[in-house]
Symmetry: C2
Subunit: 448 residues, 2 copies
């Protein structure tokens, strides 16, 4: 009998276990993990690229971590939950009864139904095992095709290019990173990929993966692209089967409330499997980011042992580094706002990463997105060569604090030549939005 | 007859002129500058250090800048203001009548009354001429003593050390950077200076500067420190004589209101000469930072030609880079709070600049200072190896948005291994403050 059983040993599950133990040292906690290793999936592209020297650097034995915190760890797979009897059964025939349960079952890579997707040399990139296989194959390969231009696809393409492979990135939509970014910002990342020798095939479908035993080429728009290696970066589907079978409410993910509790009392969900909500619109949304997994795991674990922790929703703040380019985003894009009939005012600015006369000063581009009805910031995108992640943190904070155009235009930024320029790019972008708003007001006045 | 006369062509004066012109293109604007060059004083240490290759890179002819914006520029020195006749007289005997006037007379370096301060090879570091003299002398020198451990002193010491001089920094107080930082954070900068071979003599007074025509040594605590070059970084005194003679109210600076207007209608002041107020406490304060000069110049210039722009006060956000160490601060220190009987709760955290397994991850230390009575952030200090300036911008923004401990603990930060770690150091510091507050509450409960 455990006070708390956690299914899944990824970021959300392990965080839930550790935070539960930290909150309530007396709680008897069992974690059921089908993986013996704990690691951050975000780190995998950088082992493939060679920037991190080995997989040992990024992974730790999950049993060891649990032992240090007096948490029971069972390497096994949960196969069913009896929510009446409060019992979890595993593949190895074991049973675990619980008072509280946290589902941190994660997500699985989406493998599109393309003929040849089962050939040798075709892999998704989600787990450490995938990354190991990709790296082994990459070492013996001359060319690679990455299918899918989301964050994982873009990072995978850059990683393989770092290993000097000929890399083609295929994306069905007209732009890469089409969900997190607007096309103007995606285009800057596309330029960076091309500059570094990656071929982009946009707006086209990978029709077929060709080869004997092992992949040899990918057919895209009737054209054969040679490939010794294919990586799927198409997205991830929440693992909800276990929850569904147990009668826990799911849609495209396990439904949760602000406490990360499911529709069944005492059963929580966290991480890539959990459906949460958007902080700006309140709409249900999937997050599938490491930071969300940690926050949700913290809340689920704390609440599951008698604590009180809420999640106000997610902004899906994300930063990436593609070659030497830093890119980041938070909140809604212009596209998201348009889909929801939210009228926006945007502010654009380009400035330097340090004083323009200081050696090494490079460009940084910012777009701020404000709700035209109340002038509050609802999103932002940044592409540049330094400080992007920190600036995205500031914008996310601004959204949480309900900041308006003027609040950002009056930003009390610092200035020091080797670190930051005289004019802050966020303040400049807010001033740009402010001037646009003035023009809108004038036009309305004239019309009247 | 000018609509607007501006006395001073530094950051505040030139900004006032350009912003006035931008706001009101018809305004007839004259700027009286005793310097022919426009430059950022913050850049001077980096030309001395050799990081910026020449003074040409950082300076522009002020007459040229004015010409481009249809502003009259007079290279001369204002010697008196007749506020009744609205007339400025100059050293060269010219007279300029005005409708509005902006005083941007700057500040002068404080030269402490030390015997020998007038020897050759002893310079302040404020103007481009000072920096040129220091650089020329440094090229022929083996040793230097910097007197004063404020921002300018610390940067000057690092710059000269970069030129391979034997450098000693002498500070009267027990710590360098004693006004902007608390001793725990100053100590980290002191360690960095020592690591790089600078000798620190703290808590001691430079008693005498010794030499024939040229400086040879500095006597500190009865001990001779050899010096071919001495730099004063003791601070700056606002240039208020002109204003005082004209009957404009001054204290340690020209008194201004939220519009940067002095006690006399139509006369504004901005930049290093202007006394402004602290955004947190509302107290009158000197800022003397480049960013304040720009903001105040913007407000003064805009208001002087019929616009409406206010300054809510300053936080004195500041970032510096000392060798490879980035340091920053905003708002009140613990020391400032103590002097004002503000009870504080602080939050401390140390984290990494990127994921700890990513090559090149280094430490970053944060201290957040909250008002214990309402949990609002009133200040912050950061020392680390990346992203410090941007994080200080976030803290300054948090102060302006009246953010509380919890708002910062719930920061929706991003995570990507090469740029930012899994746990954000600001959020960790806020959590630390939150736990301290819980302990304070428990202790109070027990006492009762």
């Amino acid at each position: 009998m455990s006070d708390l059983v956690i299914i899944g040993g990824g970021g959300a599950g392990l965080t839930a276990a550790l935070k539960a133990k930290a909150y309530n040292g007396d709680a008897n906690i069992t974690i059921i993990s089908d993986d013996t290793l704990s690691y951050s999936p975000c780190s995998l592209p950088f082992v493939i690229s060679g920037e991190i020297e080995s997989f040992d650097k990024i992974s730790h034995g999950i049993e060891e971590i649990c032992k240090q915190s007096d948490i029971s760890c069972v390497i096994d797979e949960a196969v069913s939950i009896d929510t009446k009897k409060k019992l979890v059964k595993t593949k190895n025939g074991k049973e675990f009864s619980y008072t509280s349960l946290v589902l941190a079952t994660g997500a699985s890579p989406i493998i599109p139904p393309i003929p040849g997707a089962d050939l040798d040399g075709v892999y998704p990139l989600q787990k450490i095992g995938d990354a190991k296989r990709i790296l082994e194959k990459a070492k013996k390969s001359k060319s690679a095709v990455v299918i899918g231009g989301g964050a994982i696809g873009a990072e995978a393409a850059a990683s393989l290019r770092n290993r000097r492979l000929e890399v083609t990135l295929v994306e069905l939509l007209p732009n890469i990173l089409a969900t997190p970014f607007d096309p103007d910002f995606s285009a800057m990342v596309e330029d960076k990929l091309r500059e570094n020798g990656i071929t982009l095939v946009l707006g086209k479908k990978a029709e077929k993966i060709l080869g004997g035993n092992s992949v040899e080429a990918v057919l895209v728009g009737g054209k054969k692209i040679p490939a010794d290696l294919v990586v799927f970066g198409v997205g991830m589907k929440p693992n909800t089967e276990l929850a569904q079978k147990a009668g826990i409410e799911t849609c495209n993910g396990i439904k949760t409330d602000e406490w990360m509790q499911t529709n069944i009392e005492g059963i929580y969900a966290a991480g890539d499997c959990a459906f949460t909500h958007c902080l700006v619109t309140g709409e249900p949304t999937l997050s599938q980011l490491g930071t969300s997994a940690i926050r949700q795991g913290t809340a689920a674990g704390t609440n599951a042992v008698g604590g009180y922790a809420t999640i106000e929703g997610v902004l899906n703040s994300m930063s990436l580094r593609i070659f030497d380019l830093e890119i980041g985003r938070t909140g809604l894009t212009e596209g998201h706002a348009r889909e929801r009939d939210i009228e926006t005012v945007t502010g654009h600015a380009t400035a330097k990463t340090k004083a323009d006369y200081f050696p090494g000063a490079k460009d940084i581009h910012v777009k701020l997105i404000f709700d035209a009805s109340n002038h509050k910031i609802i999103g932002g995108q940044i592409v540049g060569y330094a400080g992007v992640a920190e600036k995205i943190d500031l914008l996310a904070f601004a959204i949480c604090m309900h900041a308006e155009i003027n609040d950002l235009a009056k930003l009390k930024y610092g200035y020091t030549p080797p670190l930051t320029p005289e004019h802050n790019v966020i303040a400049l972008a807010a001033e740009n939005a402010s001037r646009k708003l003035d023009r809108i007001k004038k036009v309305r006045k004239k019309k009247f």
